[in-house]
Symmetry: D3
Subunit: 131 residues, 6 copies
């Protein structure tokens, strides 16, 4: 259904196979989801995307669940259906409760609303907010 | 500079003044930022927006700082300059560290990138991600 | 400040000048706003844009003010600062009242909010809504 | 198919049921569309969204059909498939003719085009447009 | 599935039929894709869209394949699924190789990422970049 | 003006300084533009962004000017003012002519317009376009 066919495990180049092996090891599951199977047509792009994602989503000053909530927020604002689905699933796997999901959606909706109001009003930024 | 002039305290209708009083009380500051001074031209819209914002951003299943990070993420994806400025300031006031700010930006950037890749690939959602 | 300098009347090619003459005649004013002065670097693009705008915004099954409100709505959702400014001014010139402006903003904000909620929920379209 | 399952009437909490009753009463139909069935997982969010939508879309300085056209415009610019479907159906129910639909689309398309041109040119806002 | 039904060849008005004839002649194929079959409900909008598309996508200072790559980039950023599919197919028909497709996606993803980072940072434009 | 102050050369950490050295060497100029001076607050993010940008924008199956045109297209669709300015300057430095700039804008505008029309029509993807 996409603009490129999904690659099965048997169709992978050695470089793509090595990335899939790392995805499986890091995630502790045999499943490799469709995004990677589409990206696998371009092994360097697959590798660069996976390596960067792994680094960015690792625990740091923000915990992994918070990072997933931020990811869902961006994906929702960008209207990326696949990404909303996949990162909502990931957030649940990392412990997101139904209450947290509801509050996440409420904040996303509120932000979208005030973003639109400010843009329609073209309000000037307060001096106090500038770094 | 906006599409409506900003209202000073002396220009407010009684209904708008009551909302400004509540903003000052809840936030513990005399400053009322420009967004509310633009919205004050339409007191019912001002009131509805403030009441809803107050409810949505209150502590709940998600803590107030996490809610600000989500707000920044949506505002960034929507390209709302005013909102990025105001909610970055709010997040700092609620304790966001430079390290957290850097990781927030890294996640926002990563999400924007993979949103674009998935959209360009038109990847089909995995059955496992559907509720 | 833009990516191309604005052209003054003395800088126009004959083709661009003819378009400016028509803009002035149709609008009944000597002012030609900056958008056209930037587009004038590419006379065929200037002409095609003006001719199409003139046809689309003419009275028809929708009246000119309603068309301006729709234009503001799209421009706000797309985050186009110039367009929000110019079409808010145009709507006022066509009779938009402060009450109508307030309701326009309320609808734009509400739509942005429910757009975000639906996208976060990935709600399936009801069969009844399909043509 | 969504990120949460749709709730049937038998699955509703009392608070959600009360909102559904009001939706049915206000709209004069027994049908409650999928958006509300997804939101019903979070009864306070359901209630707040419905109450605000009811107020915003009521007749006022703008008539209900004009409000639906604005809603479609925002939803189209935001790429919300569900919302385009549901509000196009709502606009038809409120009397939108095929000619009006065609003109709506023409204005939306024109606005999207000039939004993009202005953004590519980064044209400075005319002083005359500032409030 | 859309907001209007698709028109078959037997359903066309004479004006729409004339546009379809030109689409077939210019493209050298009997196939007229669904976009035009939906637009055909509004023959003047159909004609204006086709005539402008034909002019814009013709060979000029940029070659037709480069124009398709730009079209895919915009469509991806705007999240238009139909357009990503149709213009990816068009780009392949004009010679886009898998390597070029991969690099196109990499640039689109990189741009989306840095767009988000700059917006989150609200970086001021360098004087050297202004026209 | 941004959400973080710009760092001067004297304020850089050793890791950030090494990235700036590479930017200067690769670009053959002493100027390091504001984006990098804002990102320099987070040296690992600075490094990862620069390394990836350098790889993505290098000559490959697409030439560097074509990549800049694609970058401008995405940045315009995303409404990133800074990015439109900086990549328009970069495209000119790589040889973009005024005629090419005009055609680029025309394609971007056309794509934005048909993206909006398709989204408003919710046209179903033709089977022939699916991979």
């Amino acid at each position: 259904m996409g603009t490129v066919p999904l690659l099965g495990d048997a169709d992978l180049s050695p470089e793509a196979r090595a990335v899939f092996d790392d995805i499986r090891a890091v995630r502790g599951t045999d499943v490799v989801n469709n995004f990677w199977r589409a990206l696998a047509h371009d092994p360097p792009l697959l590798r660069a995307t996976w390596e960067r994602l792994k680094a960015v989503m690792a625990p740091g000053a923000l915990d992994p669940l918070t990072k997933e909530l931020i990811y869902i927020a961006v994906s929702t604002a960008n209207g990326c259906s696949y990404c909303v689905h996949s990162h909502t699933a990931a957030a649940r796997a990392k412990g997101m409760t139904p209450e947290q999901h509801g509050e996440l959606l409420a904040v996303i909706g509120m932000a979208a609303q005030t973003n639109a109001l400010v843009t329609g009003l073209q309000t000037e930024v307060d001096d106090a907010f500038r770094a």
